[in-house]
């Protein structure tokens, strides 16, 4: 397969001065802002309209939520340290930090799995009432983004370990920080405001 198909000249150009990959990831983040914005906006409308929501929210476990917040914030730290290492040209170090980030993502999902199992066993299912419908839908779509991020990060880390495609470390980091920020807002919305 000729090299032309894998990387056209176009990809290396930069008429705006910003690397193409970074520009692309910010566009991805922009479109994700409106996805989560629509969902969370709808949640907030219901929340503000019904006091009963607050009563339901009392059943979420703030400590688990806080722990997961801690996990994601720490994984964001390792993601940006990976970026710094990649910029210094140290692919092995960058990959290591990416693996820590991935571990954080996995811990997040595992904790959530236990959390949801417990909640469902107590009778709080997605169809219990509108609060729980939003709870599972919003956190679920977020969790889907976490899983996707972990997978892509694995692919980037594999290449980074061999000092290849180091510019991608920053890019997956940007996506990961965004996923972290969504959770930064989900946490108070679902766990604290009660």
């Amino acid at each position: 397969m000729s090299a032309a198909a894998s990387r056209p000249i176009a990809t290396g150009r930069s008429a705006t001065g910003m690397p193409t990959g970074r520009l692309a990831v910010w566009w991805v983040i922009a479109s994700e802002i409106v996805i989560f914005g629509g969902l969370l906006g709808s949640y907030v409308m219901h929340r503000l309209a019904h006091d009963a929501f607050a009563q339901q929210a009392a059943h979420t476990n703030t400590w688990i939520g806080a722990f997961n917040t801690f996990v994601l914030l720490t994984s964001s730290l390792s993601a940006v340290l990976a970026h710094k290492a990649a910029e210094e040209g140290n692919g092995t170090k960058a990959a290591r930090f990416l693996y820590y980030t991935m571990a954080g993502g996995v811990v997040f999902i595992v904790v959530k799995a236990f959390e949801w199992t417990s909640e469902i066993q107590h009778g709080f299912t997605i169809s219990s009432n509108t609060f729980w419908s939003f709870y599972y839908t919003a956190a679920g779509i977020h969790a889907g983004h976490v899983i996707a991020g972990v997978v892509i990060m694995g692919i980037v880390a594999q290449a980074a370990r061999k000092n290849l495609e180091l510019q991608r470390v920053e890019l997956i980091g940007l996506y990961w920080h965004f996923v972290d920020i969504v959770w930064i807002f989900l946490f108070p919305l679902l766990y604290i405001a009660k």
Partner: protein, 133 residues
């Protein structure tokens, strides 16, 4: 796939990334803010809870966007892009909330909203809600 040469042109374009703040320090601040937001409700005053919960969220988000995502180093276009998307979300909220937050209008009601049965207490005894269709 193993194409080192092409990195050159893409990276020539940016030389801005020489400045790295102390990421661990930022992380520590984020954790401190997390503690504040969890502690807020214990004060018992609703206004305090709201400020700690959402004020902290906004500050945390700003810290991440500025220090981890380096938005101030990326082209200004990126800042405008993100702000525009947030603005659109506010617009969506402003246009939708007057309807969604109402329980009745001139020729309609949402029966369960009016009756106050919209959000039944989920049975916390191991049984799921029965589906009503």
């Amino acid at each position: 796939m193993a194409d080192h040469a092409s990195h050159g042109t893409a990276h020539e374009a940016h030389g801005e990334h020489t400045h790295h703040p102390n990421y661990v320090k930022i992380w520590a601040i984020l954790l401190a803010l997390l503690v504040v937001s969890v502690a807020g409700p214990f004060v018992g005053i609703k206004a305090v809870t709201l400020i700690t919960a959402f004020g902290v969220a906004i500050v945390k988000a700003y810290l991440v966007v500025k220090n981890f995502m380096h938005i101030d180093v990326a082209a200004r276009l990126v800042t405008y892009l993100v702000l525009t998307m947030l603005l659109f979300m506010l617009l969506f909220f402003a246009g939708t909330a007057p309807d969604v937050m109402e329980s009745h209008g001139s020729n309609w009601t949402k029966p369960s909203w009016v009756a106050g049965t919209a959000h039944p207490e989920a049975p916390a005894d191991g049984h799921g809600q029965e589906e009503e269709h």
